[in-house]
Amino acid sequence: MDPLTGTLSAIVGATHVIARPSELIVYENDGLPGYHKLPRLFVAPGNREEAIAVVRALAASNAPFVARGAGTGLSAGSLADGIVMVGMQRMRRIIELDPVARFATVEPGVVNANLTKAAAPHGLHYAPDPSSQTACTIGGNVAENAGGPHCLKYGVTMNHILAATVVLPDGEVVRLEAPRDDEIGIDLLGAFVGSEGCFGIAVDVTVKLTPNPARICTMLADFMTVDGAAEAVSAIIAAGIVPAALELIDAGTIAAVEASIYAAGYPTDAAAALIVEVDGPIAGLDEDVAAVGRICRAAGARTVRSATDAAERARLWQGRKKAFGAMGRMSPNLVVQDAVVPRTKLAPVLRAIAEISARYRVTVCNVFHAGDGNLHPNIPYNASDPDEAARVHEACDEIMALCIAEGGTITGEHGVGLDKLPYMDALFTPDSLDAMCRLRSAFDPARRANPGKVVPIHRCKEWLAAPGVEA
């Protein structure tokens, strides 16, 4: 028996340690197809004390580990390749919710949507809303610096985290807070958010709660060209309107959605549709809605529908939110890709992606956060067909190279994990990657937290210089 099984069982109880490969198989992948790694052990602490004790026990036996929330990640970032997986989903207590000061302190396993549910009676919500929000956890959101459609107006996870208590990989417990406005200090909290589980495990997180808008209006505009839709996106932002969300859905996605049970009444002959949501105080909202309508029509929109009642709004959103599910009908597997380009490059980049997909004979459906230039080219495919899987992989490589060449980045909200590791050398200089390694080793000098992810090991000078390491 694995000697750690006994040690960890003594901390969390035997029922919360999994050692049998036949049971561990549940944890061999996240939300991204194509990657499977079996953990050595799975351990799920039930509270802060247990979590700290688990990390200290792992430190004492020099065991590398990976923390995992709900496993909804899309970068293979929480896979544990023969090492210990620490599951945080049992820690789902909302420790404190202060509706006056508008913050909540939660355990890392709290599900994103459940926090908003708890804040709702006070007219508040937790703003970052990844598409997986009914399953993903706050701890995972912090690790990935998660985004979502409404981050256009409200900001990403980093902008909403006030503090965290973190157990460092060596077992030390530290409190991370953003420096106040009247003091200077190194922003360790800012560095921690988005560190993909490589800097330690948060045992509690304090987040901002945002007042619910008094009124929300959702619009759907359809275009006969993708360029027209992209032009409308830029024009809306340029007009000084900051929509709560501004999403583009292309013809491939519309076809997938309309053929599914999630049919939302999107026009199937359109080249693209935009979902534009504006929200805020009642005063001034009608003016913004009218301006968005005018701008869309000027950019060539055929029709602009708007909905203010909850049922009709939900219908307009349904196709967007369930697009991944709708694509799931088309084939056994789906790659949900993630990249960012400058907003003005959207139209040429979408054209180039169409060309790449034709050349590799793969289907690419685009449904994404257009207001941020955050692309999600989605590729339905059959992972058990090696030829098709290889073509999908090569098409993804080309799409990433394209986004880098256009001045963008390889991930806007999913993280690097394992999947984006090969592109880091093209995006950053060796010196910049080494600086990232130095930051990581300040949090985790022994490099036991989520090893082998985010920064290619061959770029870490300090690591390569360590005794016994071969390049």
């Binding site: 530290v174 009247d182 200077i184 907003r343 941020d372 991930t411 993280g415 880091m424």
Partner: protein, 305 residues
């Protein structure tokens, strides 16, 4: 004598040399942090002064992307002049005067009266270039508005007061200037006047700024005692509604927006004067790894220089 490198490469050479000799460096922009209470006074007096003011100007600006990359020595006034013709702004509006530099504003993470509504430097920075304590040029983040590729060296540098590296370039997120942008003094009376005025912050329409003024500051600005300095931005209908709501709290006097420039440069203001010491293990290890010779603004965090 103050060194004035004219390029990132010149700065990198200078730092590499200082690193090799273990010679302390003290970085400055426009010298706006030299008064007696600044954390900069803690920097070792033997440190050689290095001005980054000559590293100025636009690196890239695509107005429709609402992103801008400028060199560190660019002043806040220049930043405003660059973006204004496109009806955009980088809404730092930081405490201090507009001759302060972009580099210093981000290195010190100086907030301002609009920060709660429009973002602090850590929210506005998209990426940056810096020279670390070994003289290595490092690029952090990028130029796009959303980016989670790699560990966040941008957030690490913002607010680190030149103790880990000297910022040479910053990419920022811009916003469209509000269609209507109004500034008011709002005056209340009675024993609860200040508390009443602070409620403007939590009204149905969130202001861009709302600071309840001390008597001294009110006098300096020439507004009545028991006033708040308030700013709203948005379309005309929103402003009209804000006016109706705020007028139930106090008496509104319309002011010119230039009052903010005066207000921000008043002293005392909530500038960053205290330093959080580098006593934690992580902060100490970061300092060792980015400035192994301890030459970058040594002593600024109260550590032994």
């Amino acid at each position: 004598m103050t060194a004035r490198p004219a390029s990132t490469d010149e700065l990198a050479t200078l730092v590499r040399d200082a690193h090799a000799r273990g010679a302390a460096l003290r970085f400055e922009g426009s010298g706006r942090w030299s008064d007696g209470r600044s954390p900069a006074t803690r920097i070792s007096p033997n440190a050689k002064r290095v001005s980054l003011a000559a590293l100025s100007g636009v690196v890239s600006y695509v107005p429709n992307d609402f992103t801008l990359t400028v060199r560190a020595g660019t002043t806040l006034a220049e930043l405003d002049a660059i973006t204004a013709p496109n009806n955009q702004w980088c809404p730092l509006l930081s405490w201090g005067d507009d001759h302060g530099t972009v580099g210093a504003t981000f290195a010190t993470a100086t907030a301002g009266p609009c920060s709660e509504a429009l973002g602090r430097p850590r929210d506005i920075a998209l990426g940056l270039e810096f020279v670390d304590g070994t003289g290595t040029v490092i690029r952090a983040g990028g130029h796009v508005v959303k980016n989670v590729a790699g560990f966040d060296l941008t957030r690490l540098m913002v607010g680190s007061f030149g103790s880990l590296g000297a910022i040479t370039e910053v990419s920022v997120r811009l916003r469209a200037r509000p269609t209507a942008d109004v500034t008011w003094s709002v005056t209340a009376d009675g024993p609860n006047a200040r508390e009443q005025l602070s409620r403007i912050r939590r009204g149905t329409i969130t202001p861009l700024a709302c600071d309840v003024l001390s008597d001294e500051v009110a006098r300096e600005l020439g507004v009545p005692a028991l006033s708040a300095l308030v700013r709203f931005g948005g379309n005309a209908a929103l402003i009209a509604a804000a006016r109706a709501e705020v007028s139930t709290i106090g008496t509104i006097h319309v002011l010119d927006a230039s009052v903010w420039t005066r207000y921000r440069s008043l002293d005392p203001h909530p500038r960053r004067l205290d330093a959080r010491p580098l006593d934690g293990a992580v902060a100490g290890r970061i300092k060792e790894r980015f400035d192994p010779a301890g030459i970058m603004n040594p002593g600024v965090f109260g550590e032994r220089a």
